[in-house]
Symmetry: C2
Subunit: 310 residues, 2 copies
């Protein structure tokens, strides 16, 4: 079957036609920040119509960057983005605009489904996937099923497990979350308040993970300390996920994985040294599908019976 | 049906005959520290024989203070206690010694089962129970089933979710676990290295939660800081559990709950302020059964089909 896929992030949306493990065609739409969801839907309708007219899809799989209730196809909460989203009826939109059924999932859950169906986690049943980007996604699958929970928000907040007691306020409302300690949005805030930042090589430019890893490799002390801090945050989040969900495999995706050569060995060692896993060692691996992961996740979202782990 | 219950902790074992929600009789045996499990089994055999001869049990429900595989009735790992335990065949012991089938579970899981069956969590389906004592137990039930995981260690390590990046080494091998930051065994270590401890009211005596809460109430500054630290650790662990397992209810048991009047309102407020739960508020409540919880857990362990959440 062919499915239209939407991967809606904070700054852009990717629309695609997907058949099985193949992306037939795709188009990315840039979205202004602070756009209401209703306006974002209007912006993605034309590319979706174009894809639908070419490929005749049977449904729309919609990945959203916030908490969702897949049973009701409703967005339940966002942290800062699309503040009108909770009231939007996506099912009606899909039916009225395209005459198609819609399935909604959290974008990070959809990316894990994609890696499980077509990428780094094929054949696995017990997985946690971390997406290190502007935010941190942390999603769990147990026994071949996404972990969903009573209110559909279990196993999807791996980036919002607290890792430090005296930490930054996070966009989720918590304190010291992995995301508020070591993500794309929090990195500049952390860097700017780091002792010695003003005299470091980082100070004149924009603070990005790319710059921080590059300057750390060149020997800048503050950059090295920031890398150490972030690695430790990701290591602690990994141990938390292992202790909570008991996976065989941790999969790492997201833009920060340009520095996979530093991150993966560190996390593998951290987990080996700090997680209590008498049965063996949790494997740590890179995601394979990049931005395609969430798009390819729509196939299992539609085709397979994804029983709820409650 | 009548079941023999064993709740084996680090320093003592309680043996009981249990029928439904009723403890027919019980006996507690003190055990020297560093005892091998084989010797502990020899020590609890006489009281179990006595109970069995009076009540004619149909099985033994065994709660153990470490990681277990309930399917194979094997202990998979301990942190410091009963270092011979992994090799011990409890099924054979129960059959040869008593002619009875045995079911093994982690002691904190068994306590949650007890509170669910006969205590503070009756009628609930999605619960995390924290036992604040010498260590910290943190156990999850989702959808009416214990969370077990691929290697039987999911949902049972709530006390070993890291809560701080620069923390103490824990007995589990991790760093900065809730248990190594605010439990009975770690409290004296934390107190002794706390700034100003030597001049505080705590210095002359033994550092226990009872003393620390008592001196904090009397205005001792170091004791107050220690209480604040522990409350924050328990609050962070609560948020971690909420974000991982999406429960309706957090249940708190263990000896430290003598100070429930301070702990429960704090955790309730902390969760309300820091957990991302758009569906409503996670309730926080005290366990009702005390040391009987794990004993009463043996009835559902035997009588009910406890499907595995994987």
């Amino acid at each position: 079957m062919t499915v239209l896929a939407v991967d809606l992030g904070g700054t852009h949306a990717t629309c695609a036609a997907v058949e099985g493990r193949k992306i037939l065609a795709s188009e990315t739409v840039n979205l202004p920040q602070s756009l209401p969801l209703a306006a974002a839907l209007a912006a993605i309708a034309p590319p979706l119509h174009k894809l639908h007219s070419t490929w005749t899809a049977e449904g729309i799989g919609f990945g959203f960057c916030g908490l969702v209730d897949p049973n009701r196809a409703r967005i339940t909460s966002t942290n800062g983005k699309y503040t009108d989203a909770v009231g939007v009826d996506l099912t009606s939109w899909a039916r009225e605009e395209f005459g198609l059924p819609l399935r909604l999932e959290n974008d990070a859950r959809l990316a894990l489904l994609g890696e499980w169906y077509a990428g780094a986690a094929r054949g696995e049943t017990d997985i946690v996937m971390f997406t290190l980007g502007t935010g941190i996604g942390g999603v769990a699958m147990m026994g071949g099923h996404l972990v969903r929970g009573k209110h559909q928000q279990a196993g999807v907040l791996g980036g919002h497990i607290p890792v430090t007691l005296i930490g930054r306020r996070c966009t989720c409302g918590g304190v010291g979350c992995a995301e508020s300690e070591a993500s794309g949005w929090s990195l500049p805030l952390i860097a700017e308040s780091w002792p010695g930042f003003a005299d470091s090589a980082l100070a004149p430019g924009k603070v990005t993970f790319e710059n921080v890893f590059a300057w750390a490799a060149k020997g800048d002390k503050v950059a090295q300390q920031l890398v150490d801090h972030c690695l430790r945050v990701w290591g602690a989040a990994a141990v938390a996920a292992v202790h909570a969900f008991d996976p065989d495999l941790l999969v790492y995706g997201g833009g920060v994985m340009k520095s996979a050569a530093v991150i993966l060995p560190y996390v593998q060692d951290y987990v080996r040294q700090n997680a209590w896993t008498p049965w063996g060692t949790v494997r740590v691996t890179a995601a394979l599908l990049g931005n395609d992961a969430a798009l390819l996740g729509v196939t299992p979202l539609f085709e397979q019976e994804l029983s709820v782990v409650r």
